[in-house]
């Protein structure tokens, strides 16, 4: 698509690469754009399958874009809709309304998915899952697992070619030829996640959606996987959507960060903006709740920040979804749903009417 592409060889395969890699992120063009996406589920209101149904608003009007070679971190508490959003983008969950555009193809239009567009999407967009062992077929060898995407998407490739690409990919993620004939249960969690990454990348996708890819791993292994994803992303000029609840991990890998709460975007901005000077009260609360690995800091810090529980997505509060727990909430917050719009300089968008009114620069963190 870009005229000035260099090609780097991965074995016999070649991948398009834009000069500058991810550093072009901030100014790069959008490859994925999500417009006002809604995902609603009809669920029984009572305890039985035949109870009257209610609408669960898992994703409620989310808009954002991912640029070429950029990593967008998607954070929020469990139940905020971050996984549903990721799954809706890749087509694993039906959408209710809104549109998703993958490069020049509309893969979701007004809540419908044109079949031809999905073909294209599956080739270009891949996913890495949370549970490394559960996402690998226990009855397939590692070679079969990693070769499967190629067999489906590139049937023209010969057997030797497939094997060569699988091997190159496995070596790239830190595994070797002696692993080819083994089964998933013979590997540790970190190694399984490497296999999952190899499977996602072997078909040369352009966007990889990672749903909590490191949260099941130990700290020392987690850092290895984060570094691996970062290296691969730069090398291949991949775009990443990195879904995680661990704010520090997201900070380590993302260029831009999207904060969700109850299906809505609360704040969206560059890593520097969101972590350096969080504007939305929810972002601030979230950041200050993260325990710091330093007793001196932890003992002197103010605790805890947020009281109460997240409201049910079956019964959203009027106006701002966060107002029931928000320390800054005023009567006006209940009247209208605040839209994530630009407030001030930079490309940051914040969905809060109180920004600039009550929130002075009293840095929370």
């Amino acid at each position: 698509m870009s005229e000035t592409t260099t090609r780097i060889a991965i074995g016999n395969a070649a991948v398009e690469r834009q000069p500058g890699g991810s550093s072009a992120g901030a100014a790069g063009e959008a490859v994925l754009s999500v417009q006002d996406l809604k995902v609603h589920f009809r669920v029984p209101r009572g305890g039985y399958p035949w109870s009257p149904k209610a609408t669960l608003r898992a994703v409620e009007g989310v808009s954002f874009e991912i640029r070429r070679g950029e990593t967008v971190g998607l954070v929020g508490e469990s139940g905020c809709g971050k996984s549903t959003l990721a799954r809706a983008i890749i087509g694993l969950t039906p959408v209710t309304a809104g549109s998703v555009r993958w490069r020049d193809t509309e893969t979701v239009r007004d809540g419908h998915r044109p079949a031809a567009a999905m073909e294209r999407l599956r080739k270009d967009v891949q996913m890495v899952f949370q549970d490394p062992l559960a996402s690998l077929d226990p009855r397939m060898t590692i070679e079969q697992i990693v070769a499967e995407p190629l067999k489906v998407q590139r049937p023209e490739l010969g057997r030797d070619e497939v094997r060569a690409r699988v091997l190159t990919m496995l070596e790239r993620v830190g595994l070797g030829v002696h692993h080819l004939a083994r089964y998933a249960h013979e590997f540790s969690g970190g190694q399984c996640q490497r296999i999952g990454i190899a499977r996602a990348l072997v078909g040369e996708p352009q966007l990889v959606i990672c749903d909590e890819p490191v949260s099941a791993l130990d700290v020392s292994i987690q850092a290895q996987i984060v570094n691996l994803l970062r290296d691969l992303q730069r090398e291949l000029s991949l775009s990443l959507l990195f879904v995680a609840h661990d704010l520090a991990v997201v900070k380590a890998i993302s260029q831009r960060v999207l904060v969700m709460y109850l299906g809505r975007v609360m704040e969206l901005g560059t890593r520097h903006e969101v972590y350096g000077s969080p504007q939305h009260p929810y972002t601030r609360a979230l950041l200050s709740a993260v325990p710091r690995p330093d007793p001196a800091v932890e003992r002197t810090r103010q605790h805890p920040v947020l009281t109460g529980e997240m409201p049910s997505p079956l019964n959203l509060p009027s106006g701002c979804a966060f107002r029931t727990r928000c320390p800054e909430a005023v009567a006006a917050c209940a009247e209208e749903v605040p839209q994530p719009v630009s407030r001030g300089t930079g490309e940051r968008r914040v969905a809060c009417i109180r920004v600039g009114v009550a929130l002075k620069a009293d840095a929370v963190i």
């Binding site: 850092a223 570094n227 900070k251 993260v290 710091r292 690995p293 007793p295």
Partner: protein, 336 residues
Amino acid sequence: MALLEVKDLGVRFTRRDAAPVDAVQRVSFTLEKGKTLGIVGESGSGKSQTVMALLGLLPGNGQASGEALYAGRNLLTLNQRELNQIRGDRIGMVFQDPMTSLNPFLTVERQMTEALQQHRGVSRREARRQAIEALQRVWIPDAARRIDRYPHEFSGGMRQRVTIATALLTEPEILIADEPTTALDVTVQAQIIELLRELNRDLGTAIILITHDMGVVAGLADDVMVMYAGRTVERASAQSLFETPTHPYTRGLLDALPRLEDAADESNGADAPLRTIAGNPPAPGEAIDGCAFAPRCACAMERCHGTPPSLAPIAGVQDGWRACLRPVEEIVEVVR
């Protein structure tokens, strides 16, 4: 005075077709009254098996050795009846997943009053009153009504607060919390940490906190024990352990943590990769000569692969212990 004194604790699992696995080896620690001990390690490091052995909760093929003195008695040699007088009464327990440690068929009231009726012989009515009080103490709103609900009607954070309230009903001297916040969101985790801190301060309950999260340990623990492959690699006060970790593994763990306050904000791209510990932890039952961490250690010498290091005092650190053949000064040089 030491409340609990563990000496040379070992846990061995026999296997039908293979050599036995030593999940915990030569672990010693003391827990002082009203203090919090953090036990940190990755999965498979033996941190959970250590407390399971203390509570007599090892599976059938597990065998504990060594000594665990509590109130003049060795917990490891008590029979089930004697243990039942201590467990859930003098020593309370909170586990990782509140949904699986609560019985889904019983109301919260039934599960909470059981312990009091069993250990204190109080009436159901009195037990209920105390249970409601305990729920209020852990900030469950509307406790008098909520107590008659079933566990599935509570959120994850509330369920964990119910298990903590249940454990505290008998005012135990020791609370063992095995990954109490791992299944919870950060905002809820902050609430639970604050709750544990408050209970420790107000009721003087000593806590053994098992976690893999260095941040949680930093906020709660007075002393920290770091475990790797079934052994203690370092033990010191939280202050000194976080300030000057003396074991290469502890250092590696702290360095590998992505941090919120890293200076990486300035640029939006080319920042330094996270520090990692290369390789994987040994598989359970893998025969290891020498230090178990040596194959992954940046400071390993020839000697490390042959001789297992024993736990020795750290010079200049009160109550600091480390198991490493290399002197502290050299580790600081190599790792930094």
